[in-house]
Each structure stands twice: as C-alpha cells, then as structure tokens.
Symmetry: C2
Subunit: 234 residues, 2 copies
C-alpha cells in the first residue's frame, strides 16, 4: 500500500464524457468528493446530479459530486486534476487551465488515438501526450500519466471489478504516489512505471487492446492488462 | 487456436545466450527440432549437447537440438529464425544473415535497452528494433516482433509456466500466425498486436517490467504481463 493519504476531492476535466463519468462514479462511491468540469457548467451539474442519483438508487450511497466549468473545477481541486478530454482538444484545454493548475497535480489520461483508426496512435513530437503536457505546463506543475488502458465501459459498470492494472508514469515521484493512492481507492492496482517517457509505451497499449477487443480472434472484449508475478511450480 | 501447422524446426540465432537457451529448452521439450546459431559452431554444439542432456535427465525427453554457426543455422531453418542477440550486435548480425533469410521469417525478440540503464529503452530512428530490422532486410523478408517481455529466468525454469502473454506484431499476417503457432507450443498465449509499429510499445514494456522487478515496492520479481478479459459480476 501507498503511505500517501487519500485525496479529499478530485477534479475531472471532461468529466461528462464516458471515461470521466466512470471515474467519477468509482471515486464518489468510495467516498471521494468529485468535481466534474465541462465546457458548460449546466451540463456538468446535470451530469453530477444524474450520477449521484444513480449511486443513491443502486447502492444507497450518498455521493458528493459537483459540476462546474473546467476553470472552476480545476480551481476547486485540492490537488489532483484528471484531464479526460478527446486528444483533439488536449492542448487547448490544458493551456486554458494552466493558471489554475499551479500548485496542483495534472493526471493526464488522454491517449492520442489516430483519427479514424483507433487501432493506432499518432504520438505528438514530444513522444507522448504526458510529455507534451509536461512541456506545455512547465516543470513547476507535475504531470502524471495514468488510467490510459482501462475501458470506459468497465469503469461505468460498477458491478464489475476493474480488470486492468494501472501503469503510472511521470517525473515527480510524490505526485505519482498521490495519483496511485487515488487509483487504488477504486480497487485496482497501480504501479510506478517510471518517468514520463514511459508514456510512449503506456499510451500505446490502448490501441493494442482496442485491436484485440474488436478482433474476431479472441472470445472477449473490454480486456485490460495485468502485471503477473510468476505462478507456482507445476 | 491458430489454424497454422506447427514448425518442424526453429533456428535461434544467439542461441547460447540466456533467452535463446530458455526458448530452445521449451521448444525442444515440446518436440520441435531446434538449431542453435552462435559465432562459434563449437560453442553452439556444446550448448546443444548440454540442453539435450538436461531434457533427458530431468524429463526423459529425447530432444533434437543442433549447434552450428549463425549462417549455417539460418540456412538450416525451414522458416522461423529467432534473433536473440544483444542489441549492440543486432544490425551487424542481421546484415550478415540477410542472404540466408530470403524465403524465411525473422522473429526479432531484441529489446534496445539503454546501455547502463535497463529501466529504459533507446529506440532506433526507425521507431523500434522490429521496424529497423524490417527496413534493413527489405519488404521481401517478413519480420515479426515477439517474445520481448518474457523473462529469461522464467524461460529456463521449466518447472514454471510462462507467466506472460506474448504480444506479436509485424506487417505480414501469415508470418505472424506462424510465429504465434510456435509460441503457443510453449504453452502460453500469443496475441496479434498489430503492425510492426506496435513494437514501439511492446519493446518498451520490457524496461517497465525490469523497473518493477528490481523495485522494493512490489513483492515479486520476474513479472510478466497478461491480457485480462473482464471478470464476472461481483
């Protein structure tokens, strides 16, 4: 276990998208206050209400989820701000939020899937989205890459465990540990996968999983990856 | 299962190294003829004798393992030639073997670990070793990237199952299927992970596993990765 305390709240930018909603449900169900940030504060508030109603009716959980603009949501976060927007809007969104991110940690979960071909990534010149985000924000704001490989369908299906270990990377160890503590609240394992340039690998696992999941060669979809220790002698 | 027939024989270039020996043991134990290729034919023959003795004494298996020069081993392969040399010797070895590889399939398992830092890779300008090999050999000789992430210690410990799924990539689907059939003979699962550029991801998984395996944060070493379908409702 991490020796880092759990966060009081987490902001999710792009929180009304499928990935954002799934993360919001899992974090809020575990007792973390969640702040959804969207272009429209009204849309974010409606989404927050809907998720709270779902958690109350299905699990009897009185969740704390708020909705506001992206800027206000970032401002309201104690520390962790998850960025979950389509790659096409990544840089613009991040530039707009940079002033509010000072003193906080950006958790970037964006995968640069190739437009029109989700079985492929097209990495930015910096090598990966995580590295591009760190370059854009500068060294004072730590960027952590995480949660790239877990299916949105799985996240939203609270009846299922998350069948995916989370590989976490970034250049700031403390920021990574805080992110890992947040991830483990959702009941799955997080591993420190190294510096930000490990994102060149981790982000690119997603299109490989997408390829498998839509293939007729395997009898499943929504697969994740897991780190597997050796099994016993046989 | 693959609808591709199992290979009669497989050549392993660099077959006297730890990865090569482990693959030779597992393939030969399953009844595949193995040809070890080394710079020294004598060293390759001695290694082959030693592995056959081990399989006979420990498992009562009469294995067929031969040892010869790299050129002769490549020449003797029906189809599959596994390249398992240190990255520093990769391009030179491949150039020397190119004439013998015509009409065959190169299975490249080399990971470009950064010299002095096995927790990192330094990719060649082509993007990955698999892509570099394909560029070096030209489009007529199919290159398949595979077996990058499985630990040599695990391969050599025949009492253990291979705790690692094998992600296979390359631009020639038939060559990938033949490689996958060969891998599954060793009792682990092989997945088609896409075109050769997927090797930018797959080769880079190895330093992430090495980082975890030498870390004090996890209670294991020699971890592999597995593709995990969703688990049941809980």
């Amino acid at each position: 276990m991490n020796e880092v305390s759990r966060p009081n709240n987490v902001a999710i930018i792009g929180g009304t998208g499928p990935q954002g909603k799934g993360l919001a449900l899992r974090l809020a169900k575990a007792g973390v206050s969640v702040i959804l940030g969207s272009r429209s504060a009204e849309k974010a508030q409606q989404c927050a209400e809907s998720l709270m109603t779902q958690l109350q009716s299905e699990y009897g959980v009185k969740a704390d989820i708020a909705g506001m603009t992206m800027v206000d949501a970032t401002q309201a976060a104690d520390d962790l701000v998850i960025l979950s927007v389509p790659y096409s809007g990544h840089d613009e969104t991040l530039s707009a939020l940079a002033p509010q991110l000072v003193g906080k940690t950006l958790v970037d979960i964006v995968v640069p899937l190739t437009p029109g071909n989700p079985k492929s990534v097209t990495m930015p010149p910096e090598g990966s989205v995580t590295e591009a985000a760190q370059a854009l924000l500068g060294d004072e704001i730590p960027v952590v890459g995480a949660l790239h490989n877990v299916s949105a369908i799985t996240l939203n299906d609270l009846g299922r465990e998350i069948n995916c270990d989370i590989l976490v990377c970034g250049n700031d160890l403390t920021a990574k540990k805080r992110t890992m503590a947040m991830i483990e609240i959702m009941g799955t394992k997080a591993y420190n996968a190294g510096l930000a340039d490990s994102a060149r690998c981790i982000e690119a696992i997603t299109p490989i999983l997408i390829r498998l999941n839509i293939s007729k060669d395997v009898p499943f979809s929504h697969a994740g990856i897991r780190i597997c220790p050796p099994t016993g002698e046989h």
